[in-house]
Amino acid sequence: MRRTYLGEFEELVLLMIAILDGQAYGMTVSQEIEQHTGRIVTLGAIHNTLIRLEEKGFVKSELGGATMERGGRRKRLFRITALGSGAARDIQQLRSKLWEMLPDQTFKFSSI
């Protein structure tokens, strides 16, 4: 099976969706990323990434949860799929495997 490529920002958004656990939509994802990473991201970037993740099958979405703050408009709530969490875990495992393979002096150099 062909592994679907997951970009760095996509991975970040995917993790945020998992963390937010049912409360993930455009505004919350963008807020959380800003708070946790300090990066300033545009809604457009989030919006496109969410659509792309859904096309890849890592997340699924449904409309719901209208509130007063949004003028009664519905949110698109995202949830991670089994495929999505599998992909995130794969990346994590690959990282730790690669980290273990690092020779010792790399740490020295990096610590200088």
Partner: protein
């Protein structure tokens, strides 16, 4: 707490440009974010970030969400929708009666024509396919140079079969032998009598109704007759075992009753007599000759024999080897003609009569398609021209959610309703017209209305017609933009007009080509009829010399010369209509190679030149004054040229013809003795010592009396035989019957094509006049004359006809030139034929258009203008 609101202009930009299916959520997200930034960093910062973020979700940055699941199109063939489609279609048909009538009339006439033609084509193609072994059966034919003949020598069939394992069986058939049959008090002369080898029934699949197929043709004293003949001679009695007396001589026993020969068989027989009967008297059969070409030979090839074209070539090459090894010097080629090709692909001489012509089959097939196309074009034209009437419907349907393909489906469905309605009317027309068409084509055409296959193919035609004629209107109508249509701004676009004009031109191209074709066919037929044949063909009455009359030649001559009505007579061996004899056996002084040319011969008497009014160019005709004429020859110009002689030196030369030495005593001007499809061939005339036909040149107006006199003579000299006679000019006309038939059929369909085109034109002109109603009103108020308005409305159509004439002329010229190449003597295709066809088409079109244009021009302008 009231959430702070982002600037309205930015939100408007977002609403305008952001993709519709994600607008709601994005707008909400942005609102929430704005409130968050507002609380955290103040209004200015929030505004800046809001605008920035709005731009980030506008095209081209934004990614579009692909979702079909949110708003599914309903199933287009929902029963409710179907019901609605039918209802609307029916209402449209009923509301626009004239338009629907024109459409259905055009389509159904077109379909009826095509069905009739296709029935004919199918009949032509079905010939000889009913034989079980049709694929294995071949007829052996041969050619000497350009002279191709269907006959082969009597001994060849068995000789070849013995040496070639690929030949499983061979059957020989004689040429048809006119015979007199008698049973009890019934006595008739029969023409469809053949002698056939005993395996005739096992090779061909002609069913035997009574009798034993295995032994039916083994007894030389027996014969087979068809069911029809059994009824003719024996009525209701059982014919089997009954006696038929042939030629007042031998008695033959009926050994079997055959089913009537099928109409689509190239062998048309009433009587089959065993070959062994003929073998008692016929010299060819007695000697098993390989030299005289007098029999039709059919081979059944083995199932495993290579029957591809090169395979057959190999077989015929081998046949020629065997033929040469047998000691034959004649330089000929052999061909194996598939049985199923005989009817349509024969252009052989000395062949059985009644063959078709594949060229006509092709031509008429194309004509059938053309007529159908013309009818389709009518439909397209009227449907698009009237599209404005449906425009509002299309707009409304789109507004309430119809997709384009739904509309296409709807309009295609409507045209299918039209085409199937037309199909039923067309089938009715076909049933009514079939007897007339049968008379015209002289074919046993039938339409089996309960045949599933027929209906399947007819439905195929209807579906095809519906799809073709509905496609353009459907695509055109479904493309309307709803807003424009509902505002009433739709105008017929230029491209649409161009397309429609193109269609009208195409229609008239077809009509004009057919008109020119008809004219040329008739011109050629006329040309042939009036061509000088080299002898005077009018008032030539002939009587075949049958029975005892041959032996009483002297008393016949005496009786004929006594009556002034018949005194101007001649005795000739064959009629100069379709001479079938020929030999290569001619030697002349200075000859380089022998046996190269087939030379027909004719036996004539001393009166030939005076009765036929031929011209003697050199020397003299046969004469009683010269005693040695029985071994003299007269030749025609063509023969003279072939032998390398000229008018000055030909007379007096000695030649050997048919192994008989003789002297040339005269040269006659070429005259035709075969169909004008063939150029004049060389001819040798010998003095008639036996008989053949009595030809009498009668006085104009005294034909009846002359016939009575001849009948009287026959009764005295030949009482046992019924009297028959014929007119030479009628027989000559009959040679071109298939051409005349083609002319008549062509004429009929050309007329119909023009008629269908005019139906369309009528509808179109009505539409045009209606559209220009106000313009005409204004023109009339300003002083335009009726003639001026009519001219204005007609000139558009006239232009199209002119274009059609220009396009059609070269096509017609090319097609007819090809047809004419079949004839050795061709009429010219004159320019006036095209002008005539053009003027005819243009005037018919003008008359059609004028119905509407005159009405429009005569209308009171107050009526058309008062509403504004």
């Amino acid at each position: 707490m009231i959430a702070p609101q982002p600037p309205r202009w930015a939100r408007n930009v977002l609403r305008l440009l952001h993709p519709g299916n994600t607008l709601e959520e994005t707008e909400g997200d942005l609102d929430e974010l704005y409130a968050y930034w507002y609380r955290r960093s103040g209004k200015a910062q929030a505004l800046l970030r809001y605008v920035l973020n709005v731009f980030s979700v506008l095209p081209p940055f934004v990614r579009r969400r692909q979702d079909a699941s949110e708003s599914d199109q309903p199933f287009p063939l929902n029963p409710d929708m179907l019901k609605n489609y039918f209802k609307i279609a029916w209402r449209n048909i009923v509301r626009q009666k004239v338009y629907s009538g024109l459409n259905i009339a055009g389509l159904s006439i077109g379909m009826a024509c095509s069905i009739l033609i296709l029935l004919w084509v199918q009949n032509e193609l079905s010939y000889d396919r009913f034989h079980e072994k049709a694929g294995q059966l071949y007829r052996l034919t041969c050619n000497a140079g350009d002279f191709k003949a269907a006959v082969t020598p009597a001994g060849l069939a068995r000789g070849l079969q013995q040496q070639m394992p690929q030949i499983e069986a061979s059957v020989r058939l004689s040429k048809p032998v006119t015979s007199l049959f008698e049973a009890g008090d019934k006595k008739f002369e029969e023409k469809r009598v053949f002698f056939a080898d005993s395996n005739f029934l096992s090779v061909f699949s002609f069913p035997l109704l009574k009798g034993n197929a295995a032994t039916a043709l083994s007894d030389p004293g027996a014969l087979l007759i068809t069911d029809e003949m059994a009824a003719k001679y024996f009525g209701n009695e059982d014919a089997l075992g009954k006696i038929l007396r042939r030629n007042n001589g031998e008695n033959l026993k009926v050994a079997g009753v055959l089913a009537n020969a099928r109409a689509n068989s190239h062998l048309q027989f009433d009587f089959i007599i065993p070959m062994s009967n003929l073998a008692r008297t016929d010299n060819d059969l007695k000697t098993d000759t390989w030299g005289n070409f007098n029999f039709y030979t059919y081979f059944q090839l083995a199932e495993n024999a290579d029957r591809s074209v090169p395979g057959l070539h190999k077989l015929t090459a081998r046949m020629f080897e065997i033929y040469k090894a047998h000691g034959q010097t004649l330089k000929i080629g052999f061909q194996l003609q598939p049985l199923t090709d005989i009817h349509l692909h024969s252009d052989l001489q000395i062949d059985l009569a009644g063959h078709g012509n594949i060229q006509y089959v092709n031509i008429f097939f194309v004509v059938a398609i053309f007529i159908l196309v013309v009818a389709c074009i009518n439909f397209m034209n009227l449907a698009t021209a009237r599209s404005e009437r449906r425009a509002k419907e299309v707009g409304l349907r789109k507004v309430v959610g119809a997709g384009r393909y739904q509309l296409v489906l709807q309009f295609l469905g409507e045209s299918l309703i039209f085409s199937f309605l037309s199909l039923f009317i067309a089938v009715g027309m076909v049933v009514l017209m079939l007897p007339v068409f049968k008379m015209l084509t002289e074919k046993a055409l039938t339409i089996h209305l309960l045949d599933g296959k027929l209906w399947a193919s007819l439905s195929g035609i209807a579906v095809l017609t519906g799809l073709i004629s509905g496609s353009y209107p459907a695509l055109f109508l479904s493309g309307f933009a709803p807003v424009k249509v509902l505002k009433g701004k739709i105008r017929v676009a230029g491209a649409n007009l161009f397309f429609r004009n193109g269609l009208v031109v195409a229609q008239f191209v077809v009509a004009i080509v057919l008109l020119v074709g008809t004219a040329v066919v008739y011109k050629q037929l006329n040309f042939i009829k009036n061509r000088n044949l080299g002898f005077d063909k009018s008032n030539l009455l002939y009587v075949p010399m049958t029975g005892e009359i041959g032996a009483k030649k002297q008393s016949l001559k005496g009786a004929l010369s006594q009556d002034p009505l018949t005194a101007n007579f001649s005795i000739i061996s064959d009629l100069p209509t379709a001479l079938v004899s020929g030999t290569t056996d001619l030697e002349w002084p200075g000859q380089v190679a022998r046996n190269e040319v087939i030379i027909p011969s004719l036996d004539v008497d001393e009166n030939f030149v005076s009765v036929f009014k031929t011209r003697v160019l050199a020397g003299r005709g046969f004469s009683r004054a010269f005693s040695g004429d029985s071994s003299s020859y007269i030749i025609n110009e063509k023969a003279m040229q072939i032998m390398g002689m000229n008018l000055a030196n030909a007379v007096g030369q000695d030649i050997v013809f048919s192994e008989t030495k003789g002297r040339i005593i005269g040269v006659v001007k070429d005259f035709h003795f075969k169909s004008l499809q063939y150029a004049v061939e060389p001819l040798v005339l010998r003095l008639n010592k036996w008989g053949g036909f009595v030809i009498v040149r009668t006085q104009a107006g005294s034909n009846e009396a002359a016939i009575a006199a001849l009948e009287n003579i026959n009764r005295q000299l030949n009482p046992a035989y019924p009297f028959t006679y014929g007119f030479l000019d009628k027989d000559l006309d009959n040679l071109y019957r298939s051409e005349k038939q083609m002319g008549d059929i062509f004429n009929l369909f050309a007329g119909l094509a023009v008629f269908i085109s005019c139906l369309g034109l009528y509808g179109l002109s009505a539409f045009m006049a209606e559209q220009r109603n106000k313009e005409i009103g204004v023109r009339k108020v300003l002083g335009a004359t009726v003639a001026g308005v009519v001219a204005l409305l007609s000139q558009d159509f006239l232009k199209l006809i002119l274009i059609a004439i220009v396009v059609a002329s070269p096509i017609a010229w090319f097609a007819m030139d090809k047809w004419l190449q079949d004839f050795a003597y061709q009429t010219s295709i004159d320019w006036w034929v095209f002008v005539l066809a053009g003027i005819l088409a243009a005037s018919i079109a003008l008359i059609t258009v004028s119905f509407q244009s005159i009405r429009a021009a005569l209308m009171n302008p107050v009526k058309s203008l008062r509403s504004e």
